[in-house]
């Protein structure tokens, strides 16, 4: 068997670590991540509090674990939501063609004019900041990305002989899309989803840092960093751990996505 690419292996290990910790936090954290203990504030690392405590005496490790869970949930919901709408639009565009295809692709172009941050800002201004709005904003920017990937891959499949044969046999476009197109673009979509998962983690962290995402008392790496920033002279170490977690998570999903791409489509890997 050919050995797996290094980026895939490293990425898979990091992703397993982050997802494992996030999963574990569902059933167990060393302490309650939101439990206050003002007397034990700014505690040093110890056998009880492995990385110490923050300005309110909350256990850092427990908060990081709960934040991992929140981060994974946000990324999963946003990518699934934006990805499925995007893929559906892309498949529709590719199957029907003509002005519908043009229309969908122009809409996708339009979507690129709004980075997640701008969209989140609009939603926050109208509805007030919340994690739901952050998820919607991240999902929204994923729609055009997946629409393009799905359409480009699907257009290739539509020219294959077995698809032409299916059409000649009188299968309708919906059935062909379901039975032949979708399974054949799945690899490209999954690769893109893994990479967008990394982007979503970064986006959630940034939005929460700016106060447009997770609201207190929910734990979030981004929010922990914004709190730590005000305490830089008192407890600089608080600014290290959450950032480190973000890097591990983003790096993990990014490498895993690159690795998957190298495995599923070696030609594409070279072209990039």
């Amino acid at each position: 068997m050919k050995s797996l690419p290094a980026n895939f292996v490293i990425g898979a290990v990091l992703v397993a670590l982050v997802v494992g910790v996030a999963g574990l936090s569902l059933i167990w954290t060393p302490h309650d991540p939101t439990a206050l203990n003002i007397r034990g504030k700014f505690g040093d690392p110890s056998a009880v509090n492995w990385l110490g405590t923050d300005q309110l005496g909350r256990d850092i490790v427990s908060q990081l674990m709960a934040a991992a869970r929140n981060s994974m949930t946000v990324a999963l919901v946003a990518v699934l939501l934006g990805g499925s709408i995007g893929v559906a639009l892309g498949l529709l565009a590719s199957a029907i063609g003509g002005w519908i295809e043009d229309g969908v692709m122009r809409l996708a172009d339009l979507g690129f004019a709004f980075p997640a941050l701008l969209f989140a800002i609009m939603l926050a201004a109208v509805f007030g900041p919340s994690l739901t709005n952050a998820v919607l904003a991240i999902a929204f920017i994923n729609i055009p990305i997946f629409a393009r990937v799905a359409r480009a891959s699907a257009n290739q499949i539509w020219t294959r002989e077995y698809v032409l044969a299916a059409r000649a046999a009188g299968m309708n476009k919906f059935t062909i899309t379901r039975d032949h197109i979708l399974p054949n673009i799945a690899a490209a979509v999954i690769v893109q989803a893994t990479i967008e998962f990394a982007v979503a983690i970064l986006a959630e962290a940034a939005l929460s840092y700016l106060g447009l995402g997770a609201q207190p008392p929910a734990s979030s790496w981004g929010r922990m960093l914004s709190e730590a920033q005000t305490l830089m002279y008192l407890a600089p170490e608080l600014a290290f751990y959450p950032g480190f977690c973000i890097v591990i998570a983003v790096l993990g999903f990014g490498l895993l996505g690159d690795g998957l791409r190298d495995i599923t489509d070696p030609r594409l890997a070279r072209a990039r």
Binding site: F112, A113, A125, V126, L225, M232, A239, G243, L251
Partner: protein, 314 residues
């Protein structure tokens, strides 16, 4: 060529119109009463009615949209609720900060990314290549705001070389420059990670081609080959990414201004959200979207300058 220019310009204007419709729709049609959002739950009915009148909320939606667009075209974005001055005044006071940050960030990004990318390509497969690509892979995963905090910890809190944030005003040029160093570096380092990788792979592609071999065979120095022959031919993919990155950089300034407490447009957006100042938020979101769309348009035009062959195909 003319046809290409006209088609792209029409597309550009159409996108701008579409963007303005989306911004207006999200800010005005979505359920919710802007007057209530601005004044809060305990506002009296009279105050709400007066504000609705003020904002023109009693006029039909289409009339409000065209009024807003017509005003925006002449630089009139209406009145800011929280600051009680025209929004355009707020913007012009802060535009210099955001533009300086974005332009300085872009220049530094290009400087770092092109040097590192070309260096890595020239050391292909060797330790130098490996190390720079490892660092850039890491750089892609580092959030700009965390890098900013780390830079502040090192250069402001520990070494005390530079201020941790804030801005003394342009009347003190030296102090102003000093307070922009860390924000610019934070902005550029993160952006250059992506661009360095693209530069490297694009340069490697060119280095495999015959004319590079010919240049080498005719005895040109490695440096001259890299900067005069390889880089210009590697520019098309680089410019694509630069266009996308300029957009990312401009929205990046929103984050960085908030990290370093710099009085620019990004900080204004957040003050306006906190103050529920909807007209200001609407104007600023539109402005940032215009910058993103314009950057993409300029990239499209640049292609033709860089690679005349694209003219024929366009």
């Amino acid at each position: 060529m003319m046809y290409f220019l006209i088609r792209r310009t029409v597309g550009f204007i159409a996108t701008l119109i579409a963007v303005s419709i989306v911004v207006f729709a999200v800010m005005n049609i979505l359920p919710g009463d802007p007057a209530l959002t601005i004044l809060g739950m305990d506002a009296t009915d009279d105050a709400l009615a007066a504000l609705r009148e003020d904002l023109g909320l009693n006029e039909p939606l289409l009339a409000r949209y065209f009024g807003w667009v017509a005003g925006a075209l002449t630089g009139d974005f209406g009145l800011s609720h929280s600051f009680r001055v025209p929004v355009s005044e707020l913007i012009s006071e802060r535009l210099a900060m955001t533009i300086s940050l974005a332009v300085a960030g872009m220049l530094l990004t290009l400087l770092i990314a092109l040097s590192v990318g070309i260096y890595a390509a020239s050391r292909h497969g060797k330790a130098g290549d490996w190390v720079t690509m490892f660092i850039s892979q890491l750089g892609i995963a580092v959030p700009a705001f965390w890098l900013s905090i780390l830079l502040v910890l090192l250069f402001a809190v520990n070494l005390r070389w530079l201020p941790p944030g804030g801005f003394p005003g342009w009347s003190e040029p030296v102090a102003a420059m000093r307070s922009l160093i860390l924000p610019t570096v934070a902005l550029a380092l993160v952006q250059s990670a992506v661009l360095a990788r693209v530069t490297r792979s694009s340069a490697l592609e060119v280095m495999r081609q015959d004319f590079t071999r010919t240049a080498r065979a005719s005895g040109l120095s490695q440096r001259r080959i890299l900067w005069r022959h390889v880089l210009p031919n590697a520019l098309v993919p680089i410019v694509t990414i630069v266009g996308m990155q300029f957009a990312a950089l401009v929205t990046g300034t929103i984050v960085i201004e908030n990290v370093f407490y710099l009085p620019g447009l990004g900080r204004l957006i957040f003050q306006s959200i906190a103050n529920r100042d909807l007209p200001t938020v609407q104007a600023l979101v539109m402005l940032f979207a215009i910058i993103v769309v314009t950057a993409n348009f300029v990239v499209d035009l640049l292609y033709v300058l860089i690679d005349p062959r694209l003219k024929a195909r366009a």
